[in-house]
């Protein structure tokens, strides 16, 4: 393992550098092609480019799985130059692909190494292991799988584990000796990355124990499948595995609502705030959709409350579809509703204040008020200001 990378993206870069160094040490410095499936996270191709590799994109089939035939063809085509495959497992679409072993074998047969993106490790801990599946490198997002709190967007850590043949090339440091016997250069300033947050992951593992960690993985998978089952009666759920099951996340697809009611995914995410929720991941891996990763740590009551909110929002959309609610003047288009907007004497919407701010019994008891109305992003990009404004900008007109 190398603890040096400070984020998943840095783990990707460090892992690919290690692979490059391995090929070079074997006199195969021409191996620079990196296969990346279409469905990969944007950091994968960016990291490959940073590590000096040439990206070749492989196809994804209609079910969201890697197109094995296309992968085989591209591996064959680049067999003398193949350096690596970057693959996320379970896939970015939240599915345990059946063909993963075959995929890794194809890459190995053609002289490449397999980089496994560990972003979805939360679905694997204790149930299967990247090394057994065929990965030569895998990073772990400690802030995703091993309980380092998100911090509002950092600190995170992306340490990499590597197979034996790659160990000599793990990154070094010029001040403190670390890394492999033929270490590549440093990837971070500090020899062990963000050392002071590692005790958080250590404590988590120590307190969960092997059995507890495995149980958590099972519950993460159960929770995702439960949310998918509750929502699929109301929204299409994309991408499922062989038995109709998903891994630890599900993709809910509201794209059809644009034609039927003029509602887009952004309207749903903003309306969720009125219901007291922060939206799940938007537009990744599929534009215009929501990806929900409930994890193991939410009780059923909370999962139900969240599903109820999304279902209630679907009913609001149905009212628009039926024409009982206006296509423009509706609580989705004007979400989120601030306290100022709701108490204002100038309320002029076709729907009630109560529906705007207190759509459920739960919000009556535990209301969270968004502090501003919907933010116009394009306006800010056209008039870019990235420092504090003077006071008079906040004077109410």
């Amino acid at each position: 393992m190398s603890l040096q990378p400070n984020a998943g993206s840095q783990g990707e870069y460090a892992g690919l550098l290690t692979i490059s160094a391995y090929h070079q040490a074997r006199g195969e410095s021409n191996r620079i092609v990196c296969l990346i499936p279409q469905s990969a996270h944007g950091t994968n191709p960016a990291s490959a480019a940073m590590a000096g590799m040439q990206v070749v994109v492989t196809k994804t089939d209609a079910k969201g799985n890697i197109d094995v035939a296309d992968l085989r063809a591209k591996a064959e085509q680049h067999k003398d130059r193949l350096a690596a495959l970057m693959v996320t497992y379970p896939s970015t679409h939240g599915v345990f692909e059946e063909s993963i072993r075959e995929i890794c074998d194809i890459v190995h047969e053609h002289g490449g190494q397999v980089y496994m993106d560990g972003a979805n490790m939360n679905a694997m801990v204790g149930l299967c292991r990247p090394g057994d599946i065929g990965a030569d490198v895998c990073h772990l997002n400690l802030h995703k799988t091993f309980c380092i709190p998100h911090g509002g967007g950092g600190p995170g850590m992306g340490p990499i584990g590597v197979a034996k043949q790659l160990a000599p090339f793990l990154p070094g440091n010029p001040v403190v000796r670390t890394g492999g016997s033929q270490a590549t250069g440093a990837v971070s300033a500090a020899p062990w990355g963000s050392a002071s947050i590692l005790p958080i992951s250590m404590m988590y593992i120590d307190m969960m124990g092997g059995e507890g960690l495995t149980y958590a993985t099972k519950i993460a998978i159960l929770s995702a499948n439960y949310v998918a089952a509750r929502l699929e009666e109301h929204y299409p759920v994309l991408y499922k595995g062989a038995n109709g099951r998903i891994a630890h996340e599900c993709i809910v697809d509201p794209r059809a609502l644009k034609a039927s009611a003029g509602i887009e995914v952004e309207d749903i995410t903003k309306r969720l705030m009125d219901y007291g929720f922060h939206a799940p991941t938007v537009s990744f891996p599929v534009a215009g959709t929501l990806m929900i990763e409930p994890t193991e740590s939410e009780p059923k009551a909370e999962l139900d409350r969240f599903c109820d909110a999304l279902i209630a929002i679907r009913e609001e959309v149905r009212a628009i579809e039926k024409g009982t609610m206006d296509r423009e003047d509706n609580p989705l288009k004007h979400a989120p509703h601030t306290m100022h907007a709701v108490v204002s004497d100038a309320w002029a919407h076709a729907y009630s204040r109560e529906l705007a701010a207190f759509p459920t019994e739960d919000t009556r008891q535990r209301k969270f008020w968004p502090s501003v109305g919907r933010v116009e992003s394009a306006y800010g990009d056209r008039h870019l200001v990235c420092s504090c404004l003077p006071t008079d900008a906040y004077v109410e007109q």
């Binding site: 984020a7 840095q10 057994d132 509002g152 799940p280 501003v372």
Partner: protein, 560 residues
């Protein structure tokens, strides 16, 4: 005869697993029923292909209680020998204001939140990050800054790619790195450059000639061995040669010395660790990245910007998101994703808490200790390699002393010093250094001779640093004296941060973020009692920027 007593694995007094895992046994049964499975294992068998299943338990002991796990951790921690570090390399000990420790570092409202993609319920955090950017812009003298990167070395590598995007080509492919940059930064930059086919040349920038193959120059300010170098000529010759200038700067020193933006740097990077973030054996801490307005679309990482909401009022959100690698994929030059938000918030709150006057006092106190140490070292017959320094001294050892002898003597006194050469040692000070610490350092360097008393050294000190800027380099000092407009205001002179943060906030944890602010990070001269050598930015009256409510309870509910 030995008797083996077998006991069932003792469930800890307070098992952690049911605290961490949300659904209880009844709920798990209900959820399985809804999905049509008899057991959890049936569901897992239907989900994960049989061929890849791990068919044995993890080789990890069974779970321990929090108390037991903490005892283990304490046991490991007890093996550490805690030395006083004067190693430098861009890392300096700091005093984390307890109000920030309690209400930011240890507050779930700040530490558990997700990336602020949903701006309407993240205004407090976005505002703290806007403060971070404002602080960085103000101290570096540049026009735009991002909301943090992972560390100074990777930020320097990102700056290299910005310079390449602006000036680089197949024939203009050389990045010049001054040899007095921090060694880890040189290594990270070289590694990144090598992978991308960029050539790195290291040398002395002050005497180098930049040819038409150089697209960028990286300078450490102050240098890794502590010298405050006047880089104006270097900057001019780099620009004349068609290259961009990148400064890797120490933020605390910038409170007192001319900001890189004023001497010609196109990009300034650095870390903010010494703004209240504990050393942490190397991390985490937030790095910063500032540049000129004309390069804003190439700025890596997340940028917070001001926009307006549907009611026409100012509202914050992440700006220019189309630059991110999600869109550009393999055409992206940066894969930066996760930032260091919590640490950036701490650094920005540190600046708010101390305000311009407090920061100036801290910086001057640090410098004064360095000057005291220098005076004592000179009395002992040692030399200081640079006349102009902030807090780091490169000591040229006198007599027959060698670096190894001094470092060995220091280690015996529980002090870490840095080897700089056979007969030179680097000492980097910080805001926690006391007169007693300086005395202890002098005893080490006295090598058995009587050490001068620090009390006797300060009388005629008259801030050698200020003096050197004033007299030793009149031009730099005159340049530094030019008033310039400052960005906005981060002053907590009314103690609002404390009031707000400490108050009972059952109803809205976002209140922790509310701060009223009044003047700029960098103080006005007279108020702060700074000599004429220190820049006197124009202080605008009446700034009053309230951090609004923001850290959303809702954000912590179901976020991806």
């Amino acid at each position: 005869m030995t008797t083996t007593v077998r006991t069932a694995p003792l469930a800890g007094a307070d098992p952690f697993v049911p605290r961490h895992v949300g659904p209880n046994e009844t709920e798990v049964a209900e959820m399985l029923e809804r999905l049509g499975y008899r057991s959890l294992d049936d569901l897992i068998d239907a989900t994960i292909p049989a061929a890849i299943r791990l068919r044995r338990p993890l080789a990890i002991h069974s779970g321990r209680s929090e108390h037991e796990a903490l005892e283990t951790l304490r046991g490991i921690a007890r093996k550490n020998r805690i030395f006083r570090s004067y190693l430098g390399y861009g890392y300096h000990d700091t005093l984390t204001p307890p109000v920030i420790q309690r209400n930011v570092l240890e507050s779930p409202g700040w530490y558990t939140a997700y990336t602020p993609y949903q701006a309407e319920i993240a205004q407090g955090r976005l505002e703290a990050l806007l403060n971070f950017q404002t602080m960085v812009m103000d101290l570096t003298g540049l026009e735009i800054a991002n909301a943090s990167l992972l560390d100074e070395s990777t930020a320097a590598a990102e700056a290299m790619f910005l310079a390449y995007q602006v000036k680089g080509s197949d024939s203009r492919n050389v990045f010049f790195v001054d040899a007095r940059c921090h060694p880890q930064t040189i290594d990270v930059v070289k590694t990144r450059a090598h992978a991308r086919g960029i050539d790195v040349t290291t040398g002395d920038a002050t005497s180098a000639t930049f040819g038409d193959t150089t697209f960028g120059v990286l300078l450490q300010y102050p240098t890794t061995d502590g010298a405050v170098v006047d880089y104006r000529d270097v900057s001019t010759s780099a620009h004349d040669a068609g290259a961009l200038v990148v400064a890797a700067a120490d933020l605390m020193s910038l409170v007192l010395i001319a900001p890189p933006g004023e001497w010609g740097a196109d990009v300034c990077v650095g870390n903010t660790q010494r703004f209240g973030v504990p050393l942490g054996y190397g991390g985490p801490h937030a790095a910063f990245f500032a540049t000129k307005d004309e390069f804003k679309r190439m700025l890596p990482g997340r940028i917070i910007g001001v926009s307006r909401d549907s009611h026409g009022r100012p509202a914050l959100r992440m700006a220019l998101q189309t630059r991110e690698q999600h869109i550009r994929r393999e055409k992206a030059t940066s894969n930066v994703c996760t930032a260091q938000v919590l640490l950036a918030v701490i650094a920005s709150m540190y600046a708010v808490w101390h305000g311009p006057v407090g920061l100036t006092t801290i910086a001057r106190r640090i410098h004064r200790r360095a000057a005291t140490l220098a005076a004592g070292l000179e009395q002992l017959g040692h030399g200081i390699s640079s006349d102009v320094y902030f807090d780091t001294l490169c000591v040229e050892l006198g007599g027959t002393l060698t670096a190894n002898l001094v470092i060995g003597a220091a280690a015996k006194a529980g002090i870490n010093l840095r080897h700089a050469g056979e007969r030179s040692v680097i000492v980097a000070l910080d805001e926690t250094v006391t007169d007693d610490d300086v005395q202890a350092l002098l005893s080490v360097f006295a090598a058995g001779q009587p050490a001068p008393e620090t009390t006797g050294l300060t009388d005629d000190l008259d801030d050698r640093f200020d003096a050197s800027l004033r007299d030793g380099d009149a031009a730099l000092s005159a340049h530094a004296r030019v008033a310039r407009p400052v960005a906005d205001a981060l002053d907590d002179s009314a103690g609002k941060l404390h009031d707000e943060a400490e108050r009972d906030r059952r109803d809205d944890p976002g209140d922790v973020a509310r701060v009223r602010t009044n003047s700029s990070v960098r103080a006005g001269g007279a108020d702060a009692g700074i000599s004429g050598a220190v820049r006197q930015p124009r202080v605008r009256a009446g700034r009053n920027y309230g951090l609004r409510r923001g850290v959303a309870a809702a954000e912590r509910r179901v976020a991806g």
